[in-house]
Each structure stands twice: as C-alpha cells, then as structure tokens.
Amino acid sequence: MSKANLLDRRAVVGSLLADRKNAIAVGGLGASTYDIAAAGDHDRNFYLWGAMGGAVMIGLGIALAQPELPVVVITGDGEMLMGMGSLATVGLQKPGNLTIVVLDNEVYGETGGQASHTAATVDLVGVASSCGIADARPLSTMAEIEAFAQAMQDVRSGPRFVSVKIDSANLERVLSSRDGQYTVTRIRGALGFGPI
C-alpha cells in the first residue's frame, strides 16, 4: 500500500544514475541491487547478492583506490543498519569522492516486510553526521534528487550521506548478474586493469 509523499525507489535511482558519467555504483544486498539493474546494466555497476552490511566498505575501498572517480553506494536501511560502524570508518577517512544513498522504506522488504529500526527510532542521517560525515541530510523530493545527482559528481566535496524515504511497495525484481567474478573483472576492465 502506497503512502503519500514517499518517493518511488526506481525513479530515485534512475535519476541518480541518468547522467552518471564515469561513476561507479555499488548496490547493497536486496532491492537496491535490483534498482541499479533496472536503471540499466553498466560495466561500472557493482551488484551485491550477499555480504550484508558490506556495501559501504566496498564503496570505500573503491573510492580510496580511485580518488578521481565518483563512487556512489546505493543501499537499503536494513543493509545500512548492519554496517553502521562503517559510517564511523568513512567519517575518519573522509574520501571526497564517496557518496552513500540509503533508500529507506523502514522495512526488510526482501524477507517479508518486517519493520526495521528506522521505522521507530533510528535516524540514519543523525548517525552519519555523528560519525563525522558533515554533508549528511534527508532528501524528500525528486527535484532534490536531481540536484544531488549533479553534486555527487564532485570528487572533492564528499563524503556525503543522504537518506531518501521511499515507498515500501515491493516492485518487480530486475535481476542483475549474480556472478561476482564477472562483476569485479568487468569493473576492473573498465578501469584499465587486466586479469592476473
């Protein structure tokens, strides 16, 4: 059941990646990976089908290795809650090219819609801010999303963290490749790195 004033996750991710240029996109376990796939397969997409809680750290590893490229981690509230300590690690490293987007539907949609902590108590923007990520804010309109898509191209002014409250409706799954070696080899190839 749709609530008023909540954004559509596919529209949000589609807008964030519409003019991505050289950006690398990391999708957290679950619906976020489907959203990135729905926006269009790309050789710089890093799809996660497991490793819950690891999306931000994978993004940090890429961001530190490629400081001139925008890196955007797009994940859900449940995945972010499991890796909340990684926000402290990012806050310490302060990579200017890293952006973290949490699509917050306040439920664990992949497992039956159980309520997540953000439905009742946890303010992830506050957590990110407290961890030293100075540019941390909620986004609530598509106009804000479009403006943010431009801002995340700036590789000097991050790290940034945004939380977007989205509709909790389960959408049709858009399945990306599940082959991790393929995914990583493809990204490495796009960056000019060959196999061993």
Binding site: G50, G61, G180, Q181, L191
Partner: protein, 181 residues
Amino acid sequence: MHARTDAPSETASSWPEDIFSILQRFEVRQVPYVPDAGHSQLIERVLGASSMRAVPLTTEEEGVALLAGAWAGGQRGVLLMQSSGVGNCVNMLSLTQIFRFPFLTLVTMRGEWGEFNPWQVPMGSSTQAVFELSGIKVLRASHPGEVREVVEAAAGQAYNACTPTAVLLSQRLIGAKVFTK
C-alpha cells in the same frame, strides 16, 4: 647461552620490519586494521608510509569488504587483526570465493602459549579451523627467523595466484601479554 633463542625480547623489532618491507615490495596500498599490541610496530610503520593508506576499522569484517573494493579499484591490501577478530569476519569471508580476489590477512594469535586471559582461548583455539572452513589457506610463523619467508610465501600466493591466505603470527613469537595490577 639460554636455550630459547626465540625469546621475543631479543628480536622483537626485526620481524615487523620484515613484514613491512614485503608489503612495500608487493605494492600493498590499503591496510585496514583493528589495533592489536602484536601489530603495533607494523601499524606505526604503515601510518608513516606515504604509499599506504591505513584504515582503522570498527570491526574486522569491514576490512574484508574494503579489500574487495580495493581490488575492484585496482589496488592490493592486507588486513591486520587479532585472532578474536577472525570470528567477526565469517560471513564476509564469502567474498574471497565470490570475487576470487587476492585476500591476505596477518593475524596475531591470542589464547595460546602461556595465555593469561581465558576469554581469549575459545576463539584462539578455533581460528585456524574457521579460516580453513571458509576456504582460506593458513600459514603460521612461530619464530622471528621464519616470519620473512612465511609472509613472503603468503603474499606471493595471495597476490600472484589469488589464493586467499591467512598468516597466523603465534603468541610464542609475539610473547604472551602480561597483565599486572
């Protein structure tokens, strides 16, 4: 002369230097760590190295994910942790099989060789088995003189053959932690 030529006090400063020079030679760039007394000298060297990025973690599993990202971005890394942290990594170690990336971790052992603190013993006792169940090759160094060749072999098979490898640095090498009031 005392029979124990491996007493930590005699050679404590040389083997971390051996490790540091191997990491430099293999062009290791990202060094995530959870602090441990046994790694303190190496961590200091990494923090002072312009070619390396030291990344303090809140929990060890973050480091496994970081190294997967580093590899996707074209860099090598090494995870420094204590044996108690290995248990924190278990699910994230899946990434070493999923991505077949060059995973190397150097683990200082607790819970063995004159351990004072019983709370270290359960995880220290299962560290090697946990790695092996997770598909990670395990090498061990117990004496200062063998650290160089063991870490060199581990780095070689990890970085050249993408064979995920852990080196256990024995408590016998590091010296049991002394608790005084």
